[in-house]
Symmetry: C2
Subunit: 285 residues, 2 copies
């Protein structure tokens, strides 16, 4: 039995994850497990983990850390009750010495005791919030990949990790820019507020019709380009660092976590969140 | 020449930091360098740094990471143009094997090439926001220390770091609880929304009149106790870990950074923030 995007689109998270784990679903995860936080992935030896974690802390907009495994432990215990990172992502890219060396759907055979897994927040979260506010996402409606550009903005380096910030671009009606910024700022674990809007050249982008990754989108009248820090940034920094081994998700093929997309903190643990709306809680002063 | 709290209270940040660096000011920093982010501090050998960083990532409400140094580098380059962590905090606690082994005003003589500095957000940020909204902070008005309690809530462990969550408590008018939660949620790097309000026993606190740290505060009619994750939590986890060496700030004697208190991300770097209000920016679509 094979699962397709159509059969999984309305399925519960458990069924989606089971299909991915069994290798029955190997495609992109946009719109799957709706309401749950999805994450970019970077897996590397412990030798580089502290520097990579510093890189994420110093560049929280492109690299919002949402989970870090124990060294050698493939279970992402803070992100779900039963997430095995070796099997629970539809497709992985394997990099050796900074170069893509293959794409696989299971990494059980190359798992090692010195690996550390990093999960990073992604743009799906704020895109859903913008859609809920009535802001159209052209690339979603038209089933294309959001356009991404290598900007002239520098990241803050840490150890071997450095490089320019990659940004994604969406056209937004000019009279809704302030609203878009306010909405996105609520999601610091999903790239937060845009880094720029308006003139692409101001952040070193030459031709907005020719993205470095993804597909161009047409500009509707009355809209302006808005740029967000993008999760491809750490992949570029990882390539620049030429790690002996690094495993990422295949772009678009994300880890779907058990965490609610709008959770204040991305941690499965008792006592870290007010989960009952305050107005429904009892108070015994 | 000696500086006093009174002489520095209205001084610019540069003058405050110079007084601290020169050892002319050795007292608490509440209300100093107004408008700038202040930070809790934990300094430890690189051997424990990755686990501590994981502990912070897994417990972002008590341990919101705002800055991490390079190994052996005392300059906190992401938090200011010229912050030397060896001298720029009014007082430090030295822990050896998990026990307090002295309080000093300068750590230049014990600095080592393997040390990593962690700066963590603190409650001053949300207290200022609550005061600006007209919520009284009794302990500030009465120059006492906020009451803190060892709660029954577990933190999520990482390596040797573990323990109960310490919480701070402030009484809030019952009809303003929702507003307080909404305001604090805007500051994920300053402990975020409260972790609990109402019955103290529900989170394992016996007697609200007898805090484990700080001073009791009187309860005004119509108010309820509200509890926030507290920056003493990592200090307890550090004590539990019995590190050979760990240096923290002396409670209340914080690092004052160059970062604006309401900055979206706590990083001194070009291109990571929209610093001009959107409505004043030009747009060239």
């Amino acid at each position: 039995m094979t699962d397709t995007y159509a059969t999984l689109k309305t399925a519960e998270l458990g069924r989606v994850r089971a299909a991915i784990r069994a290798g029955r679903y190997r495609s992109h995860t946009a719109g799957l497990g709706r309401g749950h936080l999805q994450a970019n992935l970077a897996i590397m030896p412990e030798d580089q983990a502290l520097d990579f974690m510093r890189f994420c802390q110093r560049n929280p907009k492109p690299c919002p850390l949402t989970g870090v495994s124990d060294t050698g432990d493939p279970m992402m215990v803070t992100l779900g009750a039963d997430i095995d990172i070796r099997t629970d992502v539809p497709a992985y890219n394997i990099y050796r010495d900074g170069r893509l060396d293959g794409t696989v759907t299971d990494i059980s055979d190359i798992w090692r005791d010195d690996l550390v897994v990093f999960a990073l927040g992604c743009s799906f979260t704020f895109e859903h919030a913008l859609q809920a506010a009535g802001i159209d996402m052209w690339h979603i409606a038209n089933d294309t990949t959001v356009p991404m550009f290598r900007s002239g903005l520098d990241t803050v380096p840490a150890g071997p990790f450095a490089g320019k910030m990659v940004v994604s671009m969406r056209f937004v009606p000019q009279d809704r820019i302030d609203e878009v910024i306010a909405i996105c700022r609520r999601y610091p674990l999903a790239h937060g507020a845009p880094v720029h809007w308006g003139d692409p050249a101001a952040i070193g982008i030459g031709d907005i019709a020719r993205p470095d990754w993804g597909d161009p989108t047409p500009q509707a009248p009355g809209t302006v380009p808005v740029f967000w820090a993008c999760g491809v940034t750490p992949q570029v920094a990882i390539e620049n660092a030429r790690l002996p081994l690094c495993i990422t998700h295949k772009p678009g093929h994300m880890l779907i976590t058990d965490i609610a997309e709008d959770a204040e903190v991305p941690v499965m643990a008792p006592g870290t969140l007010i989960t009952t709306p305050p107005s429904q809680q009892g108070a015994t002063p």
